[in-house]
């Protein structure tokens, strides 16, 4: 690793024209991803479901959620058990029923499940007349924050994985609410 870095530096110095290809390797910048969905239901009703930190069962890949500490940002935690058996540990750090939003961060996730580090996110319900909009805002770094990550742990892989989670989650939330399906 060290020696290949050194070699890359040497090549960069020796051949100025080799620099553009080197430019692909770079330090990790924080990535931002915001996805939203319009739901044909009043915000208060949607917040009743989304605002329950102990329940992420509306996300298709989640088999069950086990929460402790309720909606208290000082100590609320949850463990998502995924349908493939994987687990994600998350902590609530901000809960604001007035603006119908909460924020949490991931304490731990297997990079094979979600190739991200330092992940935090906010879920917010925005009233739009008799309808509402749910927005999921994520902030995270790629799975390998070092200078030259393998493809499975680079910026693209991280963005792709979180995009898939948000889009599938929000689509499923919309379907369940609009179909009047019960979400515990």
């Amino acid at each position: 690793m060290k020696s290949s870095r050194f070699a890359a530096l040497l090549i960069g110095c020796a051949f100025g024209s080799a620099l553009p290809s080197l430019a692909l390797a770079h330090g990790a910048s924080r990535l931002k991803l915001i996805k939203s969905v319009e739901i044909n239901a009043p915000a208060a009703k949607v917040w009743k479901i989304v605002g329950n930190f102990d329940n992420m069962d509306w996300v298709p890949t989640v088999a069950k959620t086990a929460g402790t500490g309720g909606d208290n940002p000082d100590n609320a935690k949850r463990v998502l058990t995924l349908k493939n058996g994987g687990k994600i540990n998350e902590s609530l750090y901000k809960y604001d029923p007035d603006s119908m939003s909460y924020s949490y961060y991931m304490d731990h996730v297997d990079l094979k499940i979600l190739p991200v580090t330092n992940y935090s996110a906010t879920l917010v319900v925005i009233p739009e007349g008799s309808k509402s909009k749910v927005e999921w805002r994520g902030a995270f770094f790629r799975g390998d924050p070092n200078f030259d990550p393998p493809p499975a742990l680079n910026d693209d892989a991280a963005t792709k994985a979180v995009t898939k989670l948000y889009v599938s989650g929000l689509t499923s939330l919309k379907q369940k609410i609009e179909a009047g399906e019960a979400i515990n």
């Binding site: 770079h26 330090g27 910048s29 924080r30 931002k32 924020s103 902030a139």
Partner: protein, 322 residues
């Protein structure tokens, strides 16, 4: 600048200031905001509270150092990797110079002749001559260096070595590290007070600001902040940390090092700096894509200015217009 030119500028400046006095306002400050995700720098007129220019800067611009005279802004692009020199008056990038592998934190010496750039990937601090763009000295610092600050007399440079939980103190003349002081966990931003006596670091993981006495090279206090503090600013009386997860600015008393107040700002606040007269603070909010102005006395918001995607302005970013 010729003497005559300087004189003409003074007259022009006087004319402008009289013009402003007539409408009851002071000379304008401008903020240069690095929009990391948008690859741009927004120029904000802080009097009219409007974006007056947008400068394309590629490579995910993050760090910034404003020259003391306000004529140049130096912007780091970690994914460049390079430093862009911005002519603040014409709002143009004059040139770019390479700066190691992963340039992030940057500070400028009081004379404006050198910038100091921390390489986040390889633990080095570079001294770059801004007239040539060449690295003229190179100092070893701790792991994953982030924030950089210079004492007002230009003699010492202090670097936050994030992954070593410490600051490195570098002698500007010899460009050798002369001290290391352990602080809280993962110091990111740091600032030095106007007297050049104390260093304040924002410790991201321990949720604290560490206070270091420069002369004795000792940690003299710790202040609890909101969640994930990134950057800290101080005036003569208070310290202010931007708490990224909290979406807050924590105010603490510099004498007692006690908590004073928590101010709600935008989402994921990072860069923070005082206006040139010290009456306001400006905060760049990375997630909500805006810059908030806060009254430094009442702690109330006085401005919310929308910018582009991912504003950070990690460093010094405000200039007084001539």
């Amino acid at each position: 600048m010729s003497r005559l030119g300087h004189f003409a500028r003074l007259i022009a400046a006087a004319g402008v200031s009289i013009g402003f006095v007539a409408v009851g306002s002071a000379l304008a400050d401008e903020a240069f905001i690095t929009n990391q995700n948008a690859n741009s720098v927004s120029v904000l007129d802080l009097t009219s509270k409007k974006v007056v220019a947008t400068i394309p800067v590629a490579g995910k611009p993050a760090g910034i150092a404003m020259s003391r005279d306000g004529t140049r802004a130096y912007v780091t692009s970690p994914e460049g990797p390079y430093v862009s020199v911005i002519d603040t008056a014409s709002r143009r990038v004059l040139r770019k110079f390479p700066a190691g592998r992963d340039p992030l934190g940057i500070a400028i010496d009081p004379t404006g002749k050198f910038v100091y750039v921390a390489d986040f990937d390889i633990p080095h601090l570079y001294k770059i001559d801004v007239s040539t763009g060449k690295i003229v000295a190179d100092a070893h610092v701790g792991k994953s260096p982030c924030g950089v600050a210079v004492t007002p007399n230009g003699k010492l440079i202090v670097v936050a070595d994030r992954d070593d939980n410490q600051i490195s103190i570098v002698d500007a003349a010899t460009f050798k590290r002369i001290g290391v002081v352990k602080v809280g966990q993962h110091p990111f931003g740091l600032t030095i007070d106007a007297e050049g006596k104390r260093v304040y670091t924002a410790d991201v993981v321990s949720n604290t600001v560490s206070v270091v006495d420069l002369a004795s090279q000792k940690l003299i206090g710790t202040v609890k902040t909101g969640l994930r503090p990134y950057v800290v600013a101080v005036n003569g009386k208070y310290g202010f940390s931007t708490d990224e997860y909290g979406g807050t600015v924590t105010v603490f008393d510099l004498k007692t090092l006690k908590f004073v107040k928590r101010i709600n700002v935008g989402d994921y606040p990072e860069g923070i700096e005082f206006s040139s007269d010290g009456s306001k603070l400006y905060v760049a909010n990375w997630m909500s894509d805006d810059v908030w102005g806060i009254d430094a006395k009442t702690f109330k918001p006085v401005a919310k200015i929308k910018v582009q995607d991912g504003p950070r302005s990690f460093g010094t970013f405000i200039r007084k217009t001539p």
